[in-house]
Amino acid sequence: MDLYVVQFLTGLANAASLFLVASGLSLIFGVTRIVNFAHGAFYMLGAYIAYSLTVRWQTPLGFWAALLVASAAVAVVGVIIETLLLRRIYNAPELLQLLATFGITLIAEDAVRLIWGPEDLVGPRAAGLSGAVSILGNAMPIYDFVLILLGPLVFGLLWLLLHRSRWGLLVRAATQDRDMVNALGVNQKWLFTGVFALGVFLAAFGGGLQIPRDAVTHFMDLSIITEVFVIVVIGGLGSIGGAFLAAIIVSQLNAFGILILPGISLVLMFAVMAVVLVLRPWGLLGKQVVRSRIAALPDVGAWKPFDRTGRLAVSLAVFLAVLLPFLLGDYGISVASEVMIAIIFAISLQFLMSVGGLDSFGHAANLGLGAYGAALCVQYFGMSMELAMLTGPLIAAAFAVVAGWFCVRLSNIYFAMLTLAYAQILWSIVFQWVDLTGGDNGIVGVWPSEWAASPNAYYWLTTACAVGVVLAIRYLTFSPFGYSLRALRDSPMRSATIGISQRHIQHVAFVISAFFAGLAGVLFAFQKGSIFPDALGISTSVDGLIMVLLGGFNTVSGSVVGAVVYKVSSIWLMSNTDFPRLILGSVIVVLVVLFPQGIVGTSQRLLETWRTRRRLGEANVGAPAQKGGVA
């Protein structure tokens, strides 16, 4: 009994920091409609700066002053980012917003390593609050009690700010009614900036609060952001009260989950989130957010299968790819195999994203399931590579049947966050279930069959798979099924009224996409001879997103080009710089802002403009312009 009381109190103390971060995220989303992936980075930055200050100012007042100063400093950083970057992408598709803010996260991670070094930092206890009191025979830090009080206090202050000030009135109006925001005119810009600054301040403050309890690390951004995403999804994006409620629920799940089984808490959290989303898709206290994706889609012509020229070009490219082993050495060929695997992974994501309009932020789940599925079959059943190449994808697909059932009930940002959570849950299971998966040590000794063991043979195998998968996905894209899937993306309302069932179609697409990503996973495992939990990590998912974005997310298979360019350059970067994340992050941000249509998207557009101009030129010579004309 005593233990439960203590766990309960610890849970409440944990909730404080989570609530601060989550309420900031929710506020920002409510007004700007941006899901700020960089929120975890601001939390981390707040912790690092506060660490440096608290080490110097070790007095009771100094501790709190350090937190406030650090948060204000991070808020200034936030304002700079908002004015320079976010203002440009408020009307961009959500995918781009998520990616841009993720890019900032990457930059922040390396910046932190540059400034504070790679080691974990352990901060001082809060001066004057470092003691403990005995609760039913268990020692509870006094600091925890301060946190327990602080959560409701901040909630109260926020409530007052939102309900008793003119500024708060504007914020609430903007959250509830989008047209209202536009009516604000010029003030809108500064309202957005102000809200962003407040949200970032809260996140940074939440980070600082953790110093006396936990080490400061450059991983803390991603671990908090997953939890906070889950919280805002459960509570309802845009709702502060919801964030408060959900922070407590999640913290208590964590506190009590640990008593049952270490590591179960993440699964519990996921389960609660899934149930909430199915019963109340907009969260416990949230409201439905209507946002059309179409308005933001770049303007291109109707999708077409390859014509004669296109098919010829593709055949030529495949032919050259097959000849590659005669040009490259072993190292080059193993890079080329990686590229082929990346192509499979990217095109399977593109099918979901570009055709289906479903932006998955957890595609790594499918790759990881395929890879681990195959590796486990090899390890425990001595399965051959050929058979594993079938079972791996099937395992990924089988999991997707279950996960997809939940995911396709959601749209846009909620879909992105649920898929992200899906991958994170799998990652933590794989990481923690050491007996089965080897945890951090991974599974080793996953080698290909003899006939495919040489680098060249393996390259031809991956090439055959890549060509097969790309063709299969293109074929599916132009099958009636693919048209229905794209129809749902173009206009859900129109689709419903011609009898296309959104959930069924998207569920099937989710499973198909998982199957192919699973194949990429199997090939990945056999190429490396091993598999580690990273394969399921956020960065794997984001790799996929960048490849699609780089190729062109509004193209049928631009990600093939995206995969080649991205994989080759990132392998080169990895071996030539100490701060790859800094570079990668900057590249993402630049891509999103300057080059959102990607390589293939942009070239197609140029080509189309050129053709139209030529056609119009001819038309002008011949008949008079058609009624209506070409827009």
Partner: protein, 258 residues
């Protein structure tokens, strides 16, 4: 009316306390054009959205072809032979005009998740069928063009083509001509009316232009603040004092007389 194709009894819907539709009853017979008119915010679009399953009514019954469809999903209702157009056009912008119609045909014929829907393309047979419909609507010349390139008036016509694609028995047209020029509006409604008579379709439509309403509607139902304030043949409705009161000042009801 027992031979009605669509019967609606006592339909109501509120949004957070706003009574958008209150106790609306109506019926449409095959081959009949029923116009639903009323000022902005009267609840017309809300009625349409309930009829095709987009939103669930708070109370009331909807029967289509004798089947109770209250609370069914839009997909199910569309399979019963209901086509609909939207006040703000909804088409598939990444497809050609022909493909828009083909997909509607395909979906109505075979569903979209049959095994065969994974193989082949939208098909030559449906292409020919789609071209027939496009010809009827006068869009055949644009069949191969990307939907995104069309002027808005043509997109509205394409909506009608899509709605006709599955051989519907009932057409729900919410402001089919909104955003079109007057002449185009007239032509579109004339065409709709002709097709409805030929194919014995039941049509429920809304339209702001009273000339068009009085010319083409067999009957008119007038909504104001969610309630039916008048119903009957055009002559009766035009004389109705309540209706005149609602439209007073706008002069809309009298426009056609000069």
């Amino acid at each position: 009316m027992s031979d009605a194709l669509l019967t609606v009894e006592n339909l109501s819907k509120s949004y957070q306390g706003v009574k958008a539709v209150q106790g609306v009853s109506l019926a449409v017979a095959p081959g009949e054009l029923l116009a639903m008119i009323g000022p902005n915010g009267a609840g017309k679009s809300s009625c349409f959205n309930m009829l095709n399953g987009q939103i669930k009514p708070d109370t009331g019954r909807i029967r289509i072809c004798g089947k109770d469809t209250t609370g069914l999903s839009p997909e199910r209702i569309s399979r019963l032979g209901v086509g609909r157009t939207f006040q703000v056009a909804e088409t598939f912008l990444s497809m050609t005009v022909r493909e828009n119609v083909q997909l509607a045909i395909q979906s109505a014929r075979h569903g979209t998740l049959s095994l065969q829907s994974f193989f082949g393309n939208l098909g030559r047979k449906s292409a020919a069928e789609a071209d027939d419909i496009l010809d009827l609507i006068g869009l055949l010349g644009e069949a191969g063009r990307s939907c995104r390139e069309l002027p808005y008036g043509d997109i509205k016509r394409l909506e009608l083509a899509i709605a006709l694609a599955g051989d519907p028995k009932l057409l729900l047209m919410d402001e089919p001509a909104a955003g079109m020029a007057t002449r185009e509006r007239m032509l579109l409604m004339r065409l709709t009316s002709r097709i409805a008579k030929e194919r014995q379709l039941a049509v429920l439509f809304t339209e702001h232009d009273m000339d068009i309403v009085f010319e083409h509607a067999d009957r008119i139902i007038v909504l104001n603040r969610g309630q039916v304030i008048a119903e009957g043949p055009p002559v009766d409705v035009r004389m109705n004092a309540d209706v005149q009161a609602v439209y007073l000042g706008s002069g809309a009801l009298y426009k056609q007389e000069h």
